[in-house]
Structures are given as structure tokens and as C-alpha cells.
Symmetry: C2
């Protein structure tokens, strides 16, 4: 295959190669209306400007209004054929040997903005947010800590992707700072709970699948069709208040421990861009029930890392390196399982993978595991951490390494601010 390049220069270490072309929602200036953009190199390409100038001329997107909106939902709802048309249009327009956009200085000046000058917004209007628990290493680690080695994995774990419903309203875009939550906590040696700031604030390194097209209530998405319904992936930080969670979660699961904020990356990387990095999922034993059986390369080789920067540090220090490919249950299995009850998906729904931990101690996806319940503090620069402190910034990165290029997600960044004092009068 002939390698086509873009007329836009992309440095070798950029996440946003010509092979990537992730979608996001941005404002080129404070007063501008939100619109759909695509990242390439250090730039954002404004798709609304391309439409306004007649550059989208395929059958589905000619004169479309979907790129003039404040969320990707309308575009995604058009379905896979429109996603394909958009990508091939962009691939053509950005190619080094196609003059249409390359040589049109007026449109180029209007359509390309430096990323550093753009404000990124939440890319998707999220209907429902679901979080899974699909990493065997993570579930085993947590199980060992809380129930001992013998009962680490619950009996259902190897038969189905355990999941639970999360809170959609508090999903925020990368760069949004969050206040430390408060709530009921109870130490083992206390008789009654107290109202306190969270003292065990954690991140969870996850990825999230964005549902492009849904299904009707009562009509499950089969595993064979699951990939067709997924538009793309984001990086996800499922912030967790471990001490609040410990007291509240029996018997109905995590609630306030998780709903004070969940951070997703500003850029949605499409499955089309990830396809060259598709790899087989881990072998599953026992073989799942037929509705969860799939063949082929059903997960992706995406290098993931977490770094922490305290307010006194100059740069974040990496505390974990892991990979999506370690995850036991695939994204398609998660989607097929989620709808097998008849549950309906809508465009814009978000499916988190759950914490992605790898096999080694430096590949765990949460502070709970990295510092092993506070018993092995983690070094960051001259400091050490058992959990996340006020002023700490957590940076998650995800990138696929191609031959001379990257397909990456940019950064998923969030800083924890002190509690907001509550006036009870």
C-alpha cells in the first residue's frame, strides 16, 4: 500500500498523526460557538468551516449541520456509513497531493487553529454511563486486599463482564478540576460513621467506549454486530473515594464514592483509526456462554500510563504503565452483555472498561493497588503518595505506536482541589 502523507506537518512524537484524526468539540475563541474539530499535529481542523465551504461533498454529509453542534451525537447518530464518509473525505482533503484545501489559503486560515488556542469541551452528550470491572488483574488485586487470596475473584467474574451503572451528569472533559468530595466514612474501630473529607482519594485508569448508534429496547446487540455500534474510544479517569466507598457500597455497589466526577479525554479516537492496532484478547477460561463468544482480534494494543504531579513538582512523574490489551473482557463483550437483557443503548452512551491493571506491580491502574492499600507508598519526585492529595494533578496518556507515527488520545488531566466548605444553614 502506498503511504499517503498529509501536507500538515506532524512531529514523530505527536499523538495526532494523519492516521489518527480523532474527533472533539472545541471553541476556537472564548466567544465562538462550539463546533466539531479533528486533531492533526498541533492543530485543530474545524469541520464546520469545511462544510461551509463545500468541502464535504459526499452523499451523506453534503451541507450537513452535524459539525456545527456542541456534541458529536448528531454526527454519530448518522451511523457507520457517515463515519466512513467523513474519514475518507478528511483523508483526501489532508493528503499532500490533493490541492483543494492545501492551496486554498483563505479556507486554510479559517479552518486550522493551534490546539494551544482552542478550548476543548465535553465531546459527547452522554445519556447513560456504565462502568465495567473487566481487568482480571485489577479484580484479583482488589479481591486479595479485601477478601484474601482464596476468595479474590467472585464466582461470577470469569463468566460475565461485571458492570454497574454510573453517573452520567458528572462526567467532565479533561482539564476540569474537581473538588475533593466529602461524605460518610467509618474506620473499622469506630462505632459510628462521621462526616469527613475523603481521605483516600484515588484515580482509576480506564478507557471508555462511545456508543455511536444504539438499539431498541428488547432487541439486544449481538456480539457479532457490537463493533458496528461503537464510534470510538476515550481515556477515562474514574475518580474514586475509597473510604466513602468502603462504608456505602454493600449491598448495592459504589454510589457517592464515584459520582463526584469522572474525567474523559477531549478527543475520541475512532475504531477505524485503532484497527491497525487490533490484537487478540487474553484467552478466556472457562469459554464464555455463546452470546459472549467472538473470534478474531477484538482488543487493541494501546499503551497507557498514569503520572502524578504535586503542586510543588515541575513535571508529572509516571507511576504506572499498562495496556488495554491486558483486559480480560473485551469492549464488544461488554456491549453484548449489557444489552442481552434487552437494555437499550443510545447514541452518546459511555461504557467504561473499569480499571486496567497489568500483570506487574508497576502496571496497576489505581493508587489502591500501586500503594497496596496504603502499605507501600509510591514515590513521586521527592514526595510519596498513598492516595491523591489536594493540588495533585493526575495525567493519563494513551497511545498506539505505529511505524513512524502514533495514534494517541492526548492527555486526560485533572487536578484535585480542596473541599468546598458546606454551609448547613
Amino acid at each position: 500500500m502506498r503511504i499517503v502523507k498529509s501536507f500538515i506537518e506532524v512531529s514523530a512524537d505527536s499523538h495526532f498523526s494523519f492516521q489518527n484524526l480523532p474527533y472533539g468539540i472545541f471553541k476556537p475563541s472564548e466567544s465562538a460557538a462550539p463546533r466539531v474539530g479533528v486533531a492533526i499535529g498541533d492543530l485543530v481542523l474545524d469541520l464546520s468551516v469545511l462544510v461551509d465551504n463545500g468541502f464535504f461533498n459526499g452523499p451523506l454529509l453534503n451541507h450537513t449541520t452535524v459539525f456545527h453542534q456542541d456534541a458529536l451525537n448528531a454526527f454519530m447518530a448518522l451511523g457507520r456509513s457517515a463515519w466512513t464518509e467523513a474519514r475518507s473525505t478528511l483523508k483526501r482533503l489532508l493528503a499532500v497531493d490533493v490541492p483543494d484545501l492545501r492551496d486554498n489559503t483563505t479556507v486554510r486560515n479559517a479552518a486550522f487553529h493551534p490546539q494551544s488556542q482552542c478550548t476543548m469541551l465535553l465531546p459527547v452528550r452522554i445519556g447513560d454511563y456504565t462502568d465495567f470491572y473487566a481487568s482480571k488483574e485489577h479484580a484479583t488485586n482488589v479481591g486479595i486486599m479485601f477478601r484474601g487470596k482464596e476468595n479474590a475473584l467472585m464466582p461470577n467474574w470469569t463468566h460475565l463482564p461485571v458492570g454497574y451503572h454510573g453517573r452520567a451528569s458528572s462526567v467532565v472533559v479533561s482539564g476540569t478540576n474537581l473538588h475533593r468530595p466529602q461524605g460518610q466514612t467509618k474506620a473499622d474501630d469506630e462505632a459510628a460513621p462521621s462526616f469527613t473529607p475523603c481521605r483516600q482519594l484515588d484515580f482509576e485508569l480506564e478507557m471508555g467506549a462511545i456508543i455511536g448508534t444504539g438499539n431498541k429496547l428488547g432487541q439486544p446487540i449481538t456480539i457479532q454486530n457490537a463493533k458496528e455500534h461503537i464510534f470510538g474510544l476515550v481515556l477515562l479517569n474514574d475518580w474514586s473515594a475509597r473510604d466513602i466507598q468502603k462504608w456505602e457500597y454493600v449491598p448495592l455497589g459504589p454510589f457517592l464514592a464515584k459520582n463526584f466526577g469522572t474525567t474523559i479525554s477531549a478527543w475520541v479516537v475512532t475504531l477505524d483509526a485503532l484497527e491497525p492496532f487490533a490484537v487478540p484478547a487474553p484467552t478466556q477460561d472457562p469459554t464464555p456462554l455463546p452470546y459472549l463468544r467472538e473470534t478474531g482480534n477484538n482488543t487493541y494494543d494501546i499503551n497507557l500510563s498514569v503520572a502524578i504531579k504535586s503542586k510543588d513538582m515541575d513535571a508529572p512523574q509516571v507511576v504506572s504503565n499498562t495496556n488495554l490489551k491486558y483486559m480480560y473482557w473485551t469492549l464488544t463483550q461488554q456491549l453484548a452483555h449489557h444489552t442481552i437483557s434487552g437494555c437499550n443503548m443510545n447514541t452518546g452512551d459511555l461504557l467504561g472498561t473499569g480499571t486496567i491493571s497489568g500483570p506487574t506491580e508497576d502496571s496497576y491502574g489505581s493508587m489502591l493497588e500501586l500503594a497496596w492499600k496504603g502499605t507501600k507508598p509510591v514515590s513521586i519526585g521527592k514526595e510519596e503518595r498513598k492516595f491523591i492529595l489536594d493540588g495533585d494533578t493526575v495525567v493519563i496518556k494513551g497511545v498506539c505506536k505505529g511505524d513512524g507515527y502514533n495514534v494517541g488520545f492526548g492527555d486526560n488531566v485533572g487536578t484535585i482541589l480542596p473541599i468546598v466548605p458546606i454551609n448547613f444553614n
Copy 2:
């Protein structure tokens, strides 16, 4: 206080007295656009027609577009002062001694529709749906069945309203039939799970609070302000697949067992209409933490019932009578707790109470309890039930009994259809 009557005749047993005036979304004919209506007697009053004819002339709702929409959200988002203005406008326009609407035959003919000829739609575009577990009787019953008398209530239960996030996409309006779900189930004596139709399908008698106005992320709604944020209540049936739930729910809570469908009533009864029926909540011991403390009449005396009709029966037979007032944690405590982490509410969010069981065996709010885990089948006509069978219709009613009038919710109705066979190819 002078008793004002309406010029619309309302029978003594109607749920929709002049004192009620609940809001819903309806279509007067198949081809008509959805709009906001108010139930009175056997009629629906079309608020879009009233606006079009200049009958809403208060400062906030003059020429409003919020009644020409397919959900109550835009109206609710205007806030309590607009709710008050709408109610007082309607009270005046419908009063027997006010001629404006009464004597305007043209507008009356256009604005009133027989309920029997209207199609009711989901009243609210639901952002997030949360379900609580706030009835002490229900939590105790379930606890006894699954963990024995000694450990019936978990240690956290009397300290906080236990809740979990539910699935918003599958909330449907009364009258929507649902297919029996399928999924993984495992009997205690089986080594591995199987894929089966649900064999223990249940209802849960609940009420739901509709959030009228929300809060910003990080800024909790205090219990003193909680009532101001609640627009009104609905009847809610939280359909549950007990066998699926049993296998899947440890450790992260119910998931597929609940997300195949949740039915709410078509009419939202406002807190203003319920205020005459406000009563004190049960005494709470231990005294809750300060953020959950409240004084006054914080719950409502709402008579609730569940009836079942098999496909061979002529009329539903009541299997339970209970009351919202039995519920241990109030709606305002649920809302204050939900946001104490900083979690943000949006207009249209739904907070289910959890199953409302009373103190006696004929006041339990689920088949699980009424038939005590299948050991005491419940009679309905010539048949008996341990759980819900295909073709069964479940009818939930809720009504406040005033002096010569009712403030009621109408029916919450759903019929269970057979499974949809799934083609795995």
C-alpha cells in the same frame, strides 16, 4: 378558607380533582405533536392551546414555548416561581366563578380532550436515574431472606439512604409492555451458569421524585433546600429479574436484573398538590448526621396498591396495600445525600425510593416479599403466583384521600410479554 370549585365536573372517585392538576405529555391524536397537558376529571387540558390564546399572562409564562414541547424539562427548568405561576393561573382559569375559559366555547373545545382519546408519552426527558433502598421493612425482609434475621440490615443502612445508579434509557411510560428478559442464571446446585429466560420476574412498588432544578458539580443541595428542587412525584415500577440479580450483583450491585425496563406513571403530581397530605416521617434511630437532619412534615400520606391481572382474568386483583409514609428515609434526605459528594443533579433526573413495603404481610411491595421467596404463593383470582408470568399485567395505583376529593397518580400499568428469541448468527 373558601372552597373553590371548578366548572369541570370531577367525580368523587377520580384521581384528578381540581386540587391535583398533575402534568403530563400527551398527543390529542396520533398525528398531533406532543405537548404539555394537565389532567382534570376525565379530561386533559392542553396548555399549548391556552398559551396560543393568551391565557397564560403572568410575568414568567406569557407567550412561553415550554408547553409546546415533548417533555416537561423546559417548564421545570424555569424553577419554582414559574411552577407557582402556572398553578395559580390554572387554578384561576378553571375556577367555577371565572368566566375567561369557562365561557369561551371555541377555546374550551380546542383545549379539553377526553383522556380516553389521548396518547400519553414519557413526561420527562430523564438525565440520570437513581434508585434508593429506603424502606426499612423492605430492606429487612430482603435481608432476612438472603442473610438471616441476625444480619438482616447492613451496618450502614440506618446511617444513610443506600442508593445506586440505575439505567435511564429504559425508563418507559405506563402502558408500555416489556418483554421478559433473558440472561445468565445459576441455581445453587449448578456448577456453571446457563443462558435462560428470567424465571423470577418481579415488580417493585416505588415512587419517584422528578428533579425540577439541579445544582452545580461540587455544590451540594442542602436538606433545607431539597424540597425546592423537587418538581413532583410519579409512581414507579422497578421491574426486577431476581434470578439474574442473584448471580450478577456481587460485588457491584444490580445491573441487567434491573435495566430491561422501569415504568413510571404518565402524570407527575406536584409537591404543591401533595402538600396538604404531608406527614412526619418515621422516627429515625440513630439520629442521622447533621447533613441529613430535618424537621417538620417531610413525607406524604399516599395510599399505594399493587394489583395483578393474568391474561385469563377480567380485572386486576389487589395483592398489596401500602403507603409512602412508611418509608424510613425521606425524599429530601435522599436528595441531600445524593449530592453531598458534590454530585450534580439536572432537570429531569429521577430518584426512585426503592421498594415501599409496609409493616404487615399484605403491605409488601414486591412478589419476592409477598410470596416470601416463592414459599407462600399469592392468590390472584383462581390462580396463584410466586413471580410474574407472561401475559400478567401489573397495576400500581397511588392516591391521597382528601375531604371529598382525591389527589392521585392514575395507574402505572405494564404487561409482561414473552421473551424475544435471539438470533446469535
